[in-house]
């Protein structure tokens, strides 16, 4: 009797489950307020340039505003949206987390026009020698690892939301390996080289982006060589 009743209920429970899943997918894929309150890297040159452009576009369209106004408004609205977002995602958060039906589809939302790339140099015989530059066959120490899609993701985030802990952790590993790979080196230096990408006309004219170094880290090679291998 109970089995028959359950069998009759089955198709209805299936519909309920599918509706729950669909609602969960939609709710969890909506923009998270944290993205706008602190996840975008508001202070980065890329986002500041984006704000300037939107401000110019809106002003041209007759809506007088400034980059600071837009930023303040987006942050304010995001903070107001946060409680609503929390309310409609709460019923689904546990299900999507444990089932793997996690959402979050921010892909190339704001293309990076001020990228940062890691540069590795060693100090040998009184001069600096580059040992790693992106896309350089000549200076390719740790290139295989740094070209891996996981570490590409990490390097990309240095230009968006710089995190000192992960940066220091990664450059120390690279420096330690460099110290061992280049036995004549006395110092290993890892830095983030940041530049603005060029407009098409400038690239066609043969110009090269000019940038500047940030977060320079120097290590005494001998000390790194004495560290125990992990």
């Amino acid at each position: 009797m109970l089995a028959r009743r359950m069998q009759a209920l089955g198709p209805h429970l299936r519909v309920l489950f599918v509706l729950f899943h669909v609602c969960g997918v939609v709710a969890m894929s909506l923009p998270a307020p944290a993205l706008f309150t602190h996840g975008m890297g508001w202070d980065t040159p890329n986002i500041q340039a984006e704000l300037r452009r939107w401000s110019e576009t809106l002003t041209r369209a007759g809506v007088t505003t400034t980059p600071a106004d837009i930023e303040a408004r987006v942050r304010r609205e995001a903070a107001r949206y946060a409680s609503a977002h929390a309310a409609f995602t709460a019923p689904f958060a546990g299900y999507t987390h444990w089932s793997g039906a996690r959402q979050g589809w921010i892909m190339f939302a704001v293309p990076q026009k001020h990228p940062g790339e890691l540069h590795v140099d060693v100090y040998e015989a009184g001069a600096w020698r580059p040992v790693y530059r992106p896309h350089s066959a000549e200076h390719d120490f740790w290139g295989r690892q740094l070209r891996n899609h996981r570490l590409r993701k990490q390097q990309g985030s240095f230009g968006r939301n710089f995190d000192r802990g992960t940066y220091d952790g990664l450059v120390r590993l690279i420096a330690r390996d460099a110290a061992r790979a280049f036995p004549d080196a006395t110092v290993v230096r890892v830095q983030l080289y940041r530049y603005a990408t060029l407009a098409p006309a400038a690239v066609r004219a043969g110009e090269t982006p000019e940038g500047h170094y940030l977060y320079s880290r120097g290590f005494v090679a001998a000390e790194l060589r004495e560290e125990p291998a992990p």
């Binding site: 519909v15 909506l30 921010i106 892909m107 293309p111 891996n148 590409r152 952790g169 066609r204």
Partner: protein, 332 residues
Amino acid sequence: MSALTRTWASWVAALGRREAGTSLACFRMGVGVAALYSLLSVGLAGLLDVVWVDCSEGGYACLQPGSGLVAWLGGPTRSVMHGLYGLALASTLAVALGLGGRVSTFVALQTYLAVAYANPHVVGGYDLLITNALWLLVLGNGNATLSLDAKLRTGRFVSAAQVAAWPRYLAVFQLLVVYTTTGLHKLSADWLPAGDFAALYHVFQDPTWRRFDMRWTASVYPLTQLGTAVTWLFEVGAPVLLLWFYARATAERGGRLRRAFAARDLRVGFTALGVCLHVGILLTLDVGPFSLVALSYYFCLWGPHELSRPPGLGVVSGTSGSGIRAPAAERG
């Protein structure tokens, strides 16, 4: 019968459909290969310890134990992560080969979640697509055909065994949600006329993802502009395909829109554009197995009977393998 009761009954009927398992099996194989690539590429680059082990034991990042399998096993230590990595490799291989039914798929899902999400700094969109797909394969039965399970059960790799169709419908829904929301998240003016449709050009100038020097794209800038516009329109226009599926499923109700949709199979253009987009990404950018896993979802756009037909496609008549009925006029 009230409208609500009728709607509910139609949902019960639609989600109760069964079909051959070919589409779900192709989906399962693609997802299995993508998950294997995602894991193996890290191990083969010598990055297993660097990326997924805590800084106290050789990793570059200090990782939180989180609240899942990793925490339960004692945190992201080297021995825990090596064990989980090995289990994830074995179980995703089983998924690709169709061995072990839903149990191996569930193990693949949980171990992949544990490994890939251990370091939140390097989680990509492809990880989300993979875990969503694995969950749908746990709910469905991707091993009914084109699998070692079918071979062991029937002596043949191909089986006509019927499976529930609704997990395939959910895969289609997931794919369309991905495109739509990623399109709506594209807030930069670069994706729009205000930004001169310069988004793809700038993506190619950023060393983060490009496979090789892409400065030559400055010489074909108008093409990158066209690519930007098409990509954005394709993404934000994805819900139209959902509408098409709905119109086809309710064709007997008639109406101008349904007749217009019945005249053409929007999946053909959608698939052609999507394949071009993902092959383009695959050739120019290294975003892990993103294109591979995204294209695996495309198998679910087609019913099992359609997948075995050459893609001249056209209008599907009768109750097709896709579970979508053609208009009454076409059914004769």
